[in-house]
Amino acid sequence: MSVAEIAPLIKNGELSPVDLVQSSLARIAQLEPALNAFLDVWDESATAAALAAETEISAGKYKGPLHGLPVGLKDLIDYAGTPTTGGSAVLADNIATTDATVVTKLRDSGAIFMGKLNLVEFAFGTTGLNAHTGDVANPWGTERITAGSSSGSAAAVAAGMIPIALGTDTGGSVRMPASLCGIAGLKPTYGRVSRAGVLDLSWSMDHVGPMTRTTEDCALLMNVMAGHDPRDPASSNAEIPDFTTDLFKGLAGLKIGVPTDYFFDDTVDSEVKASVRTAIELLSANGAEIVELSMPWVNKARAINFGVILPEAVSIHEKMISEHADLYTPAVRSRIQSGFNVSGIDYVRAKRAREWFNHQMAESMKQVDVLITPSVPISTPTIAECTPSPGNPGQGTELPRFTGVFDVTGQPSHSIPCGFTENGMPIGMMITGHPFDEATVLRVGHAYEQLTNWHQRPPTDIPEAN
């Protein structure tokens, strides 16, 4: 069930938060460690919090739609008194002393924290694999990757362990796993949601976002997560709307941009292209105007995304990797070390190119309300195909080709399910809007979900834990 379906039941006393949390814990116990989505499950504290929520609600102190709802945290996000490991042996003893701002906001809204979720080590990777914590299996086909880096977040929501997870997105780490696991994932505008208390990968590209079953749930989460935070120097003062207000306005009057370059070229998987094209036709048939956009410069984004992330990641890891290189997994160690000799001028060139790119995007966006593209260009590879070896990064390097575009620009960008491949793996489409206009992005996503039922199909035949 979605948050929007569960919340009224809790509010009206038809569903106890205690029963909900126990049901969530039972589902986790049923599927773990087969999926390996959770690094730590907080049974006792979650149960205690559920009891407290039940008492509050019974006493008429209902806090809103997240009250009593189970939430999982990607293990880059600080929860005071517990380890924040970043999925790495390097930070095995790193106990958070304060809560991340997003944790404080969710706690104040009555959400119940279920534990920490698996991820790519330090979020520096796209396939979702982690040689230290173990790979996360995709609930739709456990031999296949979830994508990452928010791998555990996506798997846990897709498998019905929890209705809400938080992820982070620097090159697509919310949207890629959301796409491959068949759930909704929103990367808000850069600066919209505080990064305070969240381990950095690349401070100018990092975003924190919700991962849920539906677009409406993402909107409910944004109502709690968004807002200025003096603890985050990049945090925006932009006005915070009610992100649910526009959800039901439909598609009439909206212009949807469809790029003629790059996102639908011959290298993109044919099933992915066909599903997204069909979705665009459906949106058009239901009132949206489709505008084809030529964006011949958009293929530069991949290099800019990587070219900014790499030296920022080296800067962040400089001391730790010089002192504890042996504790990093080989794949992430190599990714970071490969940036050791990037010159200062190349980093400045990348930053300058990013500004140039954002200007091109802003000009193109003048013609439309949102862009629609595939979320990822490939069908879901297997874990074996993506497993790196010394000198071989493995498959899956094409995964962030589309998502990374909108980390460069900082635009709000949302992945939702729009079909399945012949072998039963989810396909995602990406809706991207103007900066600080998450409301229109969510409006389009919700409208599409009212016309289809892809988002309502749960994975079946997930192997249970022994």
């Binding site: 990587f306 070390q337 990037v342 954002n358």
Partner: protein
């Protein structure tokens, strides 16, 4: 840039940057360095001449503590 195929040279260059990497680790970078070189080569090809970035520098806000 471009990076080098000689691991010892990579190690020495990193040392000049104040960064520590073993020769063994440098040898394992073979599969990663082409992507790094390719990214920055692509960035150098972008013609940004005449383009003025919107945000050149934003001072960190500060104020005198309240008396």
């Amino acid at each position: 840039m471009p990076t080098t195929n000689d691991p010892q040279h990579f190690v020495d260059q990193a040392k000049q940057n104040g960064l520590v990497i073993s020769v063994t680790d440098a040898e394992d970078l073979d599969g990663f360095l082409p992507a790094v070189d390719g990214a920055y080569a692509a960035i150098r090809e972008i013609d940004t001449a005449g383009f003025e970035p919107a945000a050149i520098f934003v001072p960190t806000p500060s104020k005198k503590e309240a008396d």
